[in-house]
Symmetry: C2
């Protein structure tokens, strides 16, 4: 018996020891408060595992923090704010990590930019790389370069096992992805980084490439194992470019993210064997720029995703499967093979499946062989997906090449399929749906008619994490019954626990003005959003009016418009970053020595807008002259008259031919253009690469008279390289030019119904010759 008891004691001892081994080793922590960079550096230098280095509340300006040291898993070294939201990093500042188990939290970056190549960098140098470090509960808000052309990253991942979590990040308007994972060097592969629970707020349109929100790897490391996890993030209005996320490495996972009205796609641009599971893509009825998932390369699994009102086409369709280039070079397009698209739901989305996107065999005449995407998708499987459209949508599939490498199994659609491709595996069935909330539709009853493909047994959960079992499963992203009351977009789930993202906007002030002096003074002091009402009369202005906020300038009496007479030198209005000028019911006139609008020559860090409504503009040199680095989000002219200027709108200075351009949307509606001897509009986008698309020109209901007579190329409207162009229902009368505009046939451009009298003609060029970007 004694022996038995001894054995028992021994067993108990073994158990206890094991338990001890699992318990955390708690060591004493020190709180070290620091008041300035010198104290901070000293604290870092002397820090040991478990230390809390606390930045006192206030503004920390022009600080370059090198945070190095070695914490442990249980006892990291933490650098944090005294009070979350009360420590501001401003000016020329950055933060670099080097070492192990370091945590930075609760900081607010604003009013500044990095003097280096990154705001936050997970290495100090190649001998001091971060591992197991964390940047969390921080805000980076418009911490953007003064010059848009200057490239940087905000978060630069190096090393392994680092984390960006619970941050609010918004307003990057310069070149360069917001978050970038770098994989050069064995120290930085198999990285298992985590990008989780962040709120990626609006990233403004950039006008060309290099405006991604996240980029993981690059074409040169596209064969490299990354294993980065991007999950539970919100991407709201991330409009930087066509790629919200640009995947360029292997074995990454994108799970449970919400893409809300972001004008781009999650693009598997390079790299293979990535997982895109349980993400939500939400668009709306008004935009065709909001995309879903674009696929290049091999072995991706796209499962359990939910698409709502995704109306993008081709590169921006809900699922865009590209054609590849045979034996593609490293930085171009590999063929798509071995991709599985299963258990996804497509609700009220337009032609959600687009195949062989980017096929350009017809362009062999203008492109070298190494640019021709003729390799069709191979061994691609669409199975157990659900397509539902409340209003009839008969073209679920758009194919840009023969479809011979895609298999369709047990997919269901509630409308008839009138696409060119009618696979037996896309079955029309009048199934019922339940509208759970505005954007959430589920099947009334599970549809259990499933295809059991290779490795499908590994798809064990649905969009909400509920189990898919042998007895309870369904096509589409969601299995009934749904637990709780799921909300697709709940902003409170993302970002920090201390920063209020959506602050209520102050109501606009209406400011009355009756003299030039008053106008100048009140414009200067106005808040963004204010409205300046001009009394009837003439306002003589010998200096430019600077616009650096949202300002409406309108006549108080529409019937007797105020007249602004400019003798200012260079320009009437100087558009500055974030300037948003709305002119209503006013008359602007110059003395032919200045332009009506110009941007700053440099440091146009952020976009500007000009809206001209029911107004008249005359006697200027150009209506608009811009600088190379400037970018307008919207230029619109409605019900207005532009006359007697040398040139019209000159959005033609961005000529690096790298796919960039000077304005996103240019809209002329129901307006009159007369006596402009130069070009009415010069809107330029140079550099050929199919995947950099942009520029939107709409001209409808306008009249053009006596314009273009001194234009050296004999052309009225220049829209070189702009991808989306509509010119319709206009009247062109007595304009002594040879060409009204050259349209790009390959992009579907054609002249609308215009009335043309003694004004030359439209020319359509099927394949525009452009400089190759790569």
């Amino acid at each position: 018996m004694k022996k038995i008891i001894s054995i028992l004691s021994l067993l108990i001892l073994i158990f206890s020891t094991n338990q001890l081994a699992f318990a955390n080793t708690v060591i004493s922590t020190r709180n070290i408060k620091v008041n300035n960079i010198k104290e901070l550096n000293s604290a870092i230098k002397n820090s040991t595992a478990g230390d809390n280095i606390i930045l006192v509340n206030g503004i920390w300006k022009d600080v370059q923090i090198k945070f190095y040291g070695n914490g442990t898993k249980e006892n990291p070294i933490t650098l944090r704010a005294e009070t979350p939201g009360k420590v501001f990093i401003e000016g020329a500042s950055d933060l670099k990590f080097g070492g192990n188990y370091l945590v930075v939290r609760d900081l607010h970056f604003r009013n500044g930019h990095t003097p280096s190549k990154a705001v936050v960098q997970f290495k100090i140098n190649n001998d001091s790389i971060a591992n197991n470090c964390k940047f969390t509960q921080c805000v980076i808000d418009e911490f953007t370069q003064p010059d848009r052309d200057v490239s940087d990253h905000w978060i630069e991942f190096w090393g392994r096992h680092n984390e960006l979590s619970s941050c609010y990040i918004t307003g990057k308007s310069n070149f360069g992805p917001t978050v970038r994972v770098l994989l050069d060097g064995n120290e930085n592969v198999y990285n298992y980084h985590q990008i989780v629970n962040n709120y990626f707020g609006p990233r403004p349109r950039k006008g060309g490439p290099h405006g991604e929100t996240i980029q993981i790897g690059d074409s040169e490391t596209s064969m490299t194992p990354s294993y980065t996890k991007v999950y539970k993030n919100l991407f709201e209005h991330c409009n930087g470019e066509v790629e919200v996320i640009s995947n360029k490495s292997n074995f990454n996972e994108y799970r449970n993210n919400v893409f809300f009205e972001s004008e781009g796609s999650l693009v598997i641009r390079h790299g293979n064997y990535n997982i895109v599971d349980s993400n939500v893509f939400i668009g709306n009825d008004n935009s065709d720029q909001i995309g879903g998932i674009r696929v290049v390369n091999t072995g991706h699994w796209i499962t359990n995703n939910y698409f709502y009102k995704i109306n993008g086409e081709m590169f921006r369709s809900a699922i865009s499967i590209m054609n590849g280039i045979p034996k593609s070079s490293l930085n171009r397009y590999n063929q798509v093979t071995d991709v599985v698209v299963a258990y996804n739901s497509f609700i009220d989305s337009k032609s959600p499946w687009q195949l062989s996107v980017g096929s350009n065999v017809s362009q062999s005449g203008v492109l070298p062989k190494s640019e021709i995407r003729s390799a069709r998708p191979e061994r691609v499987l669409f199975a157990n997906n659900l397509i539902y459209n409340e209003l009839p949508e008969m073209n679920p599939i758009v194919n840009f090449d023969k479809v011979d490498g895609v298999t369709f199994k047990n997919n269901f659609i509630n409308n008839e399929n009138k696409s060119e491709v009618k696979p037996a595996g896309l079955i029309t069935k009048d199934f019922g749906v339940t509208k759970v909330s505005d954007d959430l539709f589920t099947l009334k009853e599970n549809n259990t008619d499933l295809y059991h493909g290779f490795d499908f047994e590994n798809i064990t959960k649905d969009l909400f994490g509920n189990s898919r079992t042998a007895t309870n499963n369904s096509v589409g992203a969601i299995v009934n019954p749904i637990k709780g009351n799921p909300i697709l977009v709940d902003r409170s789930n993302y970002g920090t626990n201390w920063y209020e993202v959506n602050k209520p906007k102050a109501p606009a002030n209406i400011i009355s003005v009756s003299t030039s002096e008053e106008l100048i003074k009140k414009l200067d002091k106005a808040n963004s959003g204010d409205i300046i009402l001009l009394k009837s009369g003439t306002y003589k202005l010998s200096s430019s009016l600077a616009i650096n906020k949202e300002i409406t300038i309108a006549s108080s009496n529409k019937k007797s418009k105020a007249k602004l007479v400019f003798s200012s030198k260079k320009t009437a209005f100087e558009m500055q970053p974030k300037g948003n000028l709305i002119l209503k019911d006013v008359i602007l006139t110059g003395n032919k020595t200045q332009n009506a609008f110009t941007t700053l020559d440099k440091l146009m860090s952020k976009a500007y807008d000009i809206s001209i409504e029911n107004s008249e503009i005359s006697n200027f040199k150009s209506v608009l002259e811009v600088s190379k680095g400037s970018f307008a989000d919207n230029i619109s002219v409605v019900n207005s008259k532009i006359s007697d200027c040398e040139n019209g709108f000159m959005l033609n200075k961005e000529k690096n031919d790298g796919g960039d351009y000077n304005a996103e949307f240019v809209t002329f509606t129901n307006s009159k253009f007369a006596n402009i001897p130069g070009v009415v509009l010069d809107y330029y986008r140079g550099g050929y690469d199919e995947s950099t698309i942009g520029g939107n020109l709409k001209m409808e209901g306008n009249t053009f008279t006596n314009c273009g007579k001194a234009q050296p190329e004999n052309i009225l409207i220049k829209n070189t390289g702009i991808v989306y162009v509509t010119i319709a229902n206009n009247i062109f009368k007595n304009n002594p030019v040879k060409t009204i505009a050259i349209l790009w046939g390959e992009k579907g451009q054609k002249p609308g119904k215009n009335t043309i009298e003694n004004s030359g003609e439209f020319k359509v060029v099927q394949n525009l010759e452009m400089k190759l970007m790569y």
Copy 2:
């Protein structure tokens, strides 16, 4: 107390249950003996887990076996020979696996070839793929296609977790890698196949590409995770081509293999993150064709390897690090980055480290930009390696481009480094070595001056599996003390447990012959290796003599040579597969209507050899005419006289321009060539790709007189595209040609010291223009 005992019982019960769970579940096995294919098919159809299907002893001819079923890990279904070594698979036969846990063992494939694309294939079709199946303890010996041009594989891997083990495989002479792992389709990636403990016996020279012994993946799947393990195999005289193993996928492991006198390298041609650890490469003093490891792409670890007498250069050097093509297309050459070469030993090897191999910037004139290898290795590390040469060898490093991306740390060499590159990390030290056996040298004392690189802590063992510890470690592949009495090449460790590979050779018979009839009869009946001695006199032969074995035909009296006078139609000697004709001290003469030697027109499945020694050949059309699919291993002419023939040796029929050619070695020594109005030699190799190299021409000490006068291109010797060419110490006299030969400057060819009189001249073309293969 009772309670305690209960708890104890419970604990014991839990332990026992666990043990049960780990024990094999043994079910009753059935032995099903089958006598023919019908019974075999029926047995397969009815088989269940645990069954043994037994093929009765004897020859199974023209059998196509589809082996399908579902065994279990503990109870596979086995198909085996009644007695190992007594079941022969012959004729048009093959074997395909489909299902799980199937084992095939103890079969001997010979005297035949596959009628399909593979001898053994791990799938029946795309719906029946093998997983966890095994082909083991089998022999495949010369089971090669009758036509060398017909391509097949002997073992074709599909599915996952399949195994080729303990087999003896030799004699594949047709197109196509012996073993091929295929990765197209998700069912075949992450495969974890094992190729283990096999004896890969001689694979003859093929003359051009597609003669690999193992190829894993291809350029189109080079981004794909394979995870195949190749370990503990012997590769002996695997001379098929420059790549003994061609790696074209990711995450494969090559460990503990021995490469014995194999004329090629282990080539990481495509794919990344492969491991090459603890392999042995053995060459000899006589060959410069035996290689080591050639490296392309990213992230490989090359550790603990042992190189002995590897004298290959460039593509075949012990370690060959290539230059890449910037942004290479999928099937060309990616840049080498992030490669680690550590803890290797290089013993008595010539210039073992060759860097930027394949750099061809100088060839921009003849090659397109997409073929120019200008991207130098980047982030490559050589550390803790050992170079030892008994005789002074002052050029350990050969660089074909600037060396700016390679770091050298703590490498040691016993000679002075007089290479162009003299890194501080290659340290000359007069260390002592111990000669353990003929090919095994170790340091007298461990050299513990080590570099501790990133992830080096994962290199925990040495070549022999002994631990590398903090207290006991060393540069080089081997750490002292060595345990036991290691032998680098122990053939008994490889292949089956029943087949005798190196059977003793029967002694040669010497057969005396005095009449034509006797010659014809005895030649027919002779064994391979026999010697036929001709009495002096004249032998009139109106039919051709077929040579399909090794035969020496010699005069019994050297001073009065026998004379063979041919009136046969097409040829004097007809060279058939495996024909090896040694002519000594004989006179051959024709009547100008036939050739002296021709091959078969078709079905030249294996190579042939011709050796002409101290003999005379005259009055034929051509001396040698070959067919397209034929291949000579050696053609040699020594101390002989060739005269009064229309043409000489015509090795010029392989014109597919895919890197193939008709003969490996052509050697003319101390011989006379006279009165040949056509070309003396036409030796052709077409198709440009740097990595397919071959053709060896040596002409030394010969005299050429009155040749070439009717040659339409005015040339005496044609050696187009042949890579290794030596023409030295010859006399060219009164040959009315413009050009003696055109030499390829880029390959280091230049005319030796020849005496030229009234015979035109040599031309050197630096960069030969050739058809691109890709």
